[in-house]
Amino acid sequence: MAVLTIQNLHVSVEGKEILKGVDLEVKGGEIHAIMGPNGTGKSTLSSAIMGHPKYEVTAGTITLDGQNVLEMEVDERARAGLFLAMQYPSEISGVTNADFLRSAINARLGEGNEISLMKFIRKLDEKMSFLEMNPDMAHRYLNEGFSGGEKKRNEILQLMMLEPKIAILDEIDSGLDIDALKIVAKGINEMRSSEFGCLIITHYQRLLNYITPDYVHVMMQGRIVKSGGPELAQRLEAEGYDWIKKELGIEDETVGQEA
């Protein structure tokens, strides 16, 4: 069973410290949700785990099954079993979705173990139809000209094709209408197993109506300030964040402010 362990993580962007000591453990079989208003460091956490070039880890550790993630290149992190569904996926002209996915799968399998074309096509067809995607999308250029909803669905398609140990979903629900949201949730629920851990980053409780998390964490000022079960998300939906701020004596929850 996979374990992603984050300890005392400090992260800066262009010299400014955004994360100020995050501790979190995500295990296979668990779904965690990180909630919080905008500007509290949620997306920074996901980018730092994946190794985005702009984010600098200044202190703390990230390990996956005991291996030091921070010493790995981005592609090594992915091959070790991490996946990040991005808030703003890149558009890559001239590279078809299908070619890209096959390269990504083969990079994991390694030379000599490449997936057969038939097997790949069968799997792709199956996952695309599960996500109610138009078959044409396989042959379109990667994310180019995709609508916001199509891009998010395409991220979930990649998740299902690549079958990582631990997935981080960065605001996968933003900009989605309710039908698209249900399909995205269906994809994530399909992945649920003791071999798959998931960290969902969102500022809406809405998605959690369709995916029940095991743990809910609230992030403010670059730290996790409160953790609980699914009932915490429901209370946030009903009452907002003010009660937490009051409880913890926080005036401004965004990064750069101190309690």
Partner: protein
């Protein structure tokens, strides 16, 4: 004058050369007239590249007799690869150095009056047609020294003529192979599409070896007459020691369409000019060019669409990759003449630099002499986008492979447009070699 280059051929040589090939008098005269001008005329002046020290005249042999290929099995492997996967084998011209080495045209097209033959046969058998189009309109011998030299020393090429109302479904394919190291090749290509006709023409230039210092001077003239459509695809892949001047020009009549897909993959110093003149109202020109420069080569690519007719549309797309210490200049010119109202000139030039020492320059130019028009341009010179790399790598793709994908994607606009599978595959392989090695 001291700066002038001595042309290594005289009138007697040209007369003999022309008469040995049974050329009509007008062609001999046109050659001699051009020869007379060649020494005085200046070299062309491609913007931002100095070519006055380049070798356009010093080569070992103006003509070599190479053995023709008796049948398709005889063709070199490199040529076979270009044709085996495609359907062009029934309409194929292969030229070995200066020798028309294999020609075939389907009976069906012959019956329709289509001409597809080497330039010398065209001069002998279709002299009047050739006379009308050979360097009279699209390119003229007195433009500059290289055009004059071309007319004087013409020693290879192909003539394509598609009569009125004839639509050709399968592409016509030409392959020119340079397998002698010291030749001068003055190759002339003419594609004429008469009213309401349609043709796809695909050509490849390739070198059999990396040795030697050949000189290649290419002129292609394309005519899409009223309501005709010409699709012209080319992959140039001449070796490092070859100095190339290549000038591809198109002239579109009323509602005529000319589309270009050019994969310019030469490894030697190259000046490439591609101009499409939209003469007729409602005519259309689309130019897609991709380039990979490597080593120490210096290249200059000028692409221009000139609008004369009303309601004309011109599109220029150029994507270039520059690596090692290569230099590539990309000039894009959209020109709208006075009176060409309701026309649209768009261009996009993008250059990807893969090394610190590479030099690349994209110069978009719009010259507009009419008020009621649309025009736009986009240009960029940069490196592989780190965020795109991050995205691909975050799916487990190693950095090298991710870069490779991005570069191939960047060059896809022309690769995808190539209508013959064999040629498309060859272009992909050439790109692969040029980008990775």
């Amino acid at each position: 004058m001291a700066t002038e280059t001595k042309i290594p051929f005289d009138e007697t040589y040209i007369r003999t050369f022309s008469s040995e090939r049974g050329e009509p008098d007008w062609l001999t005269e046109r050659r001699l007239e051009a020869l007379g001008k060649a020494e005085q005329l200046p070299l062309p002046k491609p913007d931002k590249t100095k070519i006055d020290k380049w070798n356009f005249t010093d080569f070992g042999r103006h003509v070599v007799d190479s053995a023709p290929y008796a049948n398709l099995d005889d063709l070199p492997e490199a040529v076979k690869a270009l044709i085996e996967a495609g359907e062009g084998t029934t309409n194929l011209y292969v030229q070995r150095n200066h020798t028309p080495a294999y020609v075939s045209l389907s009976d069906e097209l012959k019956e329709k009056g289509v001409i597809f033959t080497d330039i010398f046969t065209a001069a002998r058998e279709h002299g009047d047609l050739l006379k009308k189009y050979f360097m009279t309109d699209a390119v003229k011998p007195d433009e500059h020294r290289l055009a004059a030299l071309h007319a004087a020393l013409l020693n290879g090429g192909v003539f394509v003529y598609v009569p009125k109302n004839v639509e050709i479904e399968t592409p016509l394919q030409a392959v020119y192979i340079q397998d002698e190291d010291d030749i001068g090749l003055f190759n002339h290509v003419i594609v004429v599409a008469e009213d309401n006709s349609r043709v796809v023409f695909v050509e490849n230039y390739l070198s059999a070896s990396d040795e030697g210092k050949a000189v290649v001077n290419i002129v292609a003239e394309v005519f899409a007459n009223a309501n005709a459509r010409v699709f012209f695809a080319a992959v140039d892949h001449l070796a490092k020691g070859v100095t190339t001047y290549v000038n591809r020009r198109g002239v579109a009549g009323r509602d005529g369409r000319i589309e270009w897909a050019l994969g310019l993959m030469n490894d030697g110093n190259t000046v490439s000019e591609n101009i499409t003149r939209l003469i007729g109202d409602g005519s259309f020109g689309d130019t897609k060019t991709v380039v990979v420069s490597r080593g120490e080569q210096v290249q200059n690519f000028t692409t221009s669409v000139v609008h004369y007719g009303k309601h004309t549309e011109g599109y220029i797309l150029k994507h270039g990759v520059v690596r090692d210490s290569a230099t590539s200049i990309f000039n894009g010119i959209g020109k709208i003449e006075h009176g060409a109202s309701k026309s649209n000139a768009e261009q996009e030039s993008r250059v990807l630099m893969l090394s610190e020492k590479a030099r690349g320059d994209a110069n978009p130019i719009l010259l507009i002499d009419e008020d009621d028009v649309m025009a736009g341009h986009a240009a960029s010179v940069g490196r592989v986008d780190p965020i795109q790399l991050y995205y691909l790598m975050s799916r487990g793709i190693p950095r090298n492979e991710a870069e490779r994908l991005i570069i191939h994607g960047f060059l896809a606009p022309v690769v995808e447009a190539i209508p013959l599978e064999g040629v498309k595959k060859q272009l992909i392989e050439v790109i692969e070699r040029k980008v990775q090695s």
